[in-house]
């Protein structure tokens, strides 16, 4: 235990030493993302806004059951899910893509993964601008409670760091994970109530279909998206949704577990990275 504490202290000290590097790498990612684009950072707001408009037109036409304040409902789910997809996809190639630096100098390798997740996080924060616009236009009442939305966002960040570390480590050894992951996130998106609500997974008598039960119980993205919606627009249907307090501790637990799995995988394999990149 004492050794663990000492090691943790040492690691935190080292992290402080490389803080400047993390900041520079995040800046680099953001700079490269919008280089040579005319509107630049404005795209971080425009992109989710335009996606929301297209999706809400398509889905209000298709779905019979109407969701109240659908544009807000949609954009809440969409920006969080996009963050997860973007950050993990970027993080996956963070180690492989930094080969030129890693081959020639010593840097704690997780810094590169963390920088990818963090730059996506900055992007997410910018896209809250789009959320704000949609909230104003839909006439959703602003409340102090909205600020609690940072809780699921924080949980999601920790979750994505863990997942990103795991994927980054695996990708070093098997490059085709990249191709699998785009399919996995696609399936994951349809299994997350982003443009539909859990109600679409119920039978006529109101009981839940097995798929709905599974999503409600085991899909981490459901935990974060639903929490976020609760804080932003008080979206909560007592018969089908899980209470927000339960989601909060479950989401936190899942995030910490994921972080642990990610760190363990990364740590166990990091010394071999150099031989494969």
């Amino acid at each position: 235990m004492k050794k663990f504490l000492r090691l943790t202290k040492e690691r935190i000290r080292k992290f402080g030493q490389y803080w400047d590097l993390l900041v520079l790498l995040v800046q680099r990612d953001l700079k490269l993302k919008y280089r040579r684009s005319f509107l630049g950072y404005l795209w971080s707001v425009l992109n989710p806004l335009l996606t929301m408009i297209v999706m809400s037109i398509v889905f209000t036409e298709m779905f019979k059951r109407k969701i109240e304040n659908f544009p807000v409902y949609l954009i809440c789910g969409n920006i969080l899910f996009s963050f997860m997809r973007e950050s993990t996809t970027q993080a996956m190639t963070s180690v492989v893509g930094s080969a030129s630096l890693l081959k020639k100098s010593y840097v704690p390798k997780y810094i590169f993964t963390l920088s990818k997740i963090t730059s996506s996080m900055v992007n997410l924060v910018l896209s809250f601008g789009a959320l704000l616009i949609v909230m104003i236009f839909s006439g959703v009442r602003f409340q102090w409670m909205n600020l609690l939305g940072f809780i699921p966002v924080l949980e999601l960040y920790v979750f994505c760091v863990g997942l990103g570390l795991f994927l980054a480590a695996v990708t070093v050894f098997f490059r085709d994970v990249r191709n699998i992951w785009s399919v996995v996130t696609l399936a994951w998106m349809y299994l997350t109530p982003i443009f539909y609500s859990l109600e679409s997974h119920t039978y006529a008598d109101g009981t839940m279909k097995p798929i709905g039960l599974l999503i409600r119980r085991f899909n981490p993205m459901y935990m974060y998206v639903q929490q976020f919606r609760y804080f932003i627009m008080q979206w909560y249907v007592p018969e089908i949704e899980v209470p927000v307090m339960t989601l909060m501790w479950r989401g936190g637990l899942v995030a910490v577990l994921m972080l642990f799995v990610g760190l363990a995988t990364f740590n166990a394999t990091k010394n071999k990275f150099i031989l494969y990149i």
């Binding site: 030493q17 490389y18 400047d20 590097l21 900041v23 520079l24 790498l25 680099r28 700079k31 490269l32 030129s100 630096l101 890693l102 081959k103 020639k104 100098s105 010593y106 840097v107 050894f173 098997f174 490059r175 085709d176 994970v177 699998i180 010394n271 150099i274 031989l275 494969y276």
Partner: protein, 261 residues
């Protein structure tokens, strides 16, 4: 910083004990899941073991200047990577005290999509220096590299000589405890090589430890007081550069004559 380094002069700063580096050379390149599992099931997963370094023992003290001598593929760069912690030893241990500025295999690690200016700051941070420090030193770095007009150019458009200049300028301005120079000078022009040697000498005078690789004898004899001869991953000889070169030349000469017959 400087005083500290002088104080430590003579203390052991790099200690390598029985270190080996092993690479698995796969029969073919395996980096996709399908092939991996197919081979795993068929039990055809075989790797050829290859020792890039074998049982290396070396102790280097602060302020010393060491040359690594050996033919291509003898393990010089691998040994340097081991010291920089880029590679972990498969067996044995490597202890290093102090900050290291590595220039391995022709230059420092740069991100080729970024401009030279951005790379200077990232490189400084990689070497553990704060942004404030790098801002203060920025002018000096550009002056030393003599690349005033090219700071906003992405590194991918740099020539290898320009890269080496920039890498060298950053690595020496941060005043590391241990400086590693691996063939960097080979790509610079004569005037710049001379300038670099003078700069290295300046750092040596201030107590920096130097690890130096070069295939030309001149700079080695000028800068280094100790030499290690590596051959096929093993230390063949340790001594002064003059002694080591004497033996080394003898062996390489005989090799050449054998081929001539």
């Amino acid at each position: 910083m400087e005083e500290l380094r002088i104080d430590r002069k003579g203390q052991v700063c790099i200690k390598i004990t029985d270190a080996s580096v092993r690479f698995n050379i796969a029969g073919e390149k395996l980096d996709n899941l399908k092939e991996y599992f197919v081979k795993l099931v068929k039990r055809e997963l075989r790797f050829k073991e290859f020792y890039a370094l074998k049982d290396i023992n070396l102790t280097i003290r602060q302020g010393e200047s060491w040359a690594l001598i050996g033919s291509n593929g003898a393990g010089k760069s691998t040994l340097l990577k081991l010291i920089c912690r880029i590679l972990a030893p498969y067996k044995g241990s490597v202890e290093v005290k102090g900050s290291i500025a590595p220039m391995i295999e022709l230059g420092a690690g740069f991100d080729s999509n970024l401009t030279a200016q951005e790379n200077i700051f990232i490189n400084g941070a990689v070497l553990g220096r704060s942004r404030k420090f790098m801002k203060e030193q920025y002018e000096k770095i550009v002056d030393f590299a003599e690349l005033w007009d090219f700071m906003d150019l992405p590194i991918k458009n740099y020539s290898s000589g320009m890269r080496a200049r920039l890498g060298f300028a950053v690595a020496t301005i941060v005043e590391p405890d241990i400086l590693i120079v691996d063939e960097v000078l080979a790509v610079g022009d004569a005037a710049f090589q001379k300038k670099c040697r003078a700069r290295i000498q300046e750092l040596l005078d201030r107590g920096t430890t130097l690890l130096f690789v070069s295939h030309s004898k001149g700079p080695v004899l000028e800068l280094c007081k100790n030499a290690v001869w590596l051959d096929h991953g093993e230390i063949k000889m340790i001594g002064t550069p003059e002694e080591v070169y004497e033996q080394y030349d003898l062996q390489t000469d005989t090799k050449v004559t054998i081929k001539k017959k």
